[in-house]
Symmetry: C2
Amino acid sequence: MINRLVENIRKKKAPIVVGLDPMLSYVPEFILDRAVKEHGETLEAAGAAVWEYNKGIVDAVCDEIPAVKPQIAMYEQFGLPGMQAFQKTVDYCREKGLIVIGDVKRGDIGSTSAAYANGHLGSVQVGGTKCYAFNEDFITVNPYLGSDGVSPFVDVCREEKKGIFVLVKTSNPSSGEFQDQKVDGRPLYEIVGEHVARWGADCMGDSYSYVGAVVGATYPEMGRILRKIMPKTYILVPGYGAQGGTAADLKPYFNEDGLGAIVNSSRGIICAYKQDKYAGFGESGYAEAARQAVLDMKEDINRIF
Amino acid sequence: MINRLVENIRKKKAPIVVGLDPMLSYVPEFILDRAVKEHGETLEAAGAAVWEYNKGIVDAVCDEIPAVKPQIAMYEQFGLPGMQAFQKTVDYCREKGLIVIGDVKRGDIGSTSAAYANGHLGSVQVGGTKCYAFNEDFITVNPYLGSDGVSPFVDVCREEKKGIFVLVKTSNPSSGEFQDQKVDGRPLYEIVGEHVARWGADCMGDSYSYVGAVVGATYPEMGRILRKIMPKTYILVPGYGAQGGTAADLKPYFNEDGLGAIVNSSRGIICAYKQDKYAGFGESGYAEAARQAVLDMKEDINRIF
């Protein structure tokens, strides 16, 4: 899957991923109204609205991008109907040839991590039949519980040729509270980065590992150091755009080959129609606005090479 | 909710919680066969089997225990039908008067953490209507992303009078890899523990905070120190029984008042019928075996007071 991700990025000339993180406040009123008319003011309406909204965006941008990253929290908040919208979104994006990175940030121990890994990347056995559940291509993983929490994910990646991105240094303001704590003079995120490189070493694609890392765009100096600590690790970079990261900040995350990083934008794309710059598209043109925002983001990011 | 938890623990004389973590291999064959007959070898069959298995156990033990802790990974692995079994389990246990601790270990940043908090503890607004999704009483939270990842959960707890248990020191063998790293001579879990005490300080029930902590039974010395760092924090203690923690190990987690900790057992209860000790109950007596294991666990733990 890491090979397919690299190939998709090259083909589309786009080291970017669109975050499908649908807050209900992003969904155009005409879509929500239609859903409420059908389902009442219920979680079912929210799920239906979110799915329709996503489908519009995916149809408009899928030929320009290699991957999407649905943030499962935005679906989980709507309970079962939300999870159904998540499943439909994953399935639809895969049908469209997009790589799906489930932003689930799961992490537990032993058999529990294995259950998450099976549910999101692998399969479960029911009687004699192998059944796939959510079936994303990649997921994000939280490393706080250590190697025996992460290794069940790595095992499933190896078996299914799928991938994970492990949280190393996140983009939020208080990420430093624990991640930057100095251990023998070095910040914890460097220690985590070294583990990521080690976990990924025996699970390599052609040039990059199945085990990637998350490093926020808002900390380019740390990105530079982590790039060196994890040379074969694909870096998923959140925090571009709405969170304050700029294209100039992104250079250190890439290798000399122009690969090695994939930059996420969520709000900046899927809610572009609410920005002054794209207001001309109007609410009914929300999907076209998203497409234009993708084209602009590609131009902006490709400028650094 | 922390007051209700304490009250339930006192009333049942049981500082214990039963982990509803149904691996398919735990489910008696007659239950799985029935489900497969109805649904084929599908995720639907797995979800139906898990729900029936849970219901049997809950019916058998609910008068003896204050709380249950369903591990969501064990449901999530079965996709949407699994999540449906999770929802049914949560709803049923709450109807039975049990406190439900959703072991979800979620954690993200800002609006994403808020979405998890709303979906599991609070509500979402659809039009003019407040809709509740999974609606557990407590959930577990991963702190790796720092205060701005945790505070949205605390906000919802305050509003809804619910609670969280933040991972501080987990019970697994490699938990030390990051959690024990020395920061200015002190392990990271102590720093996290201090944050937990601080996050919980302005969100107090009668004697304990809405913000609890997870500290594994397998590290009693660390439990003793963390008990002092977080005197008003309820500690959820995994790792008793199957993972190796004994009753003697548990004393340091409690305060002088005999409160302040709640000990989890999962496999040891729900899969008791597979142990030699309870083999007499047979497969069809799996629920009665679970009840007996609960009674034995209560006796074992109450011995330390």
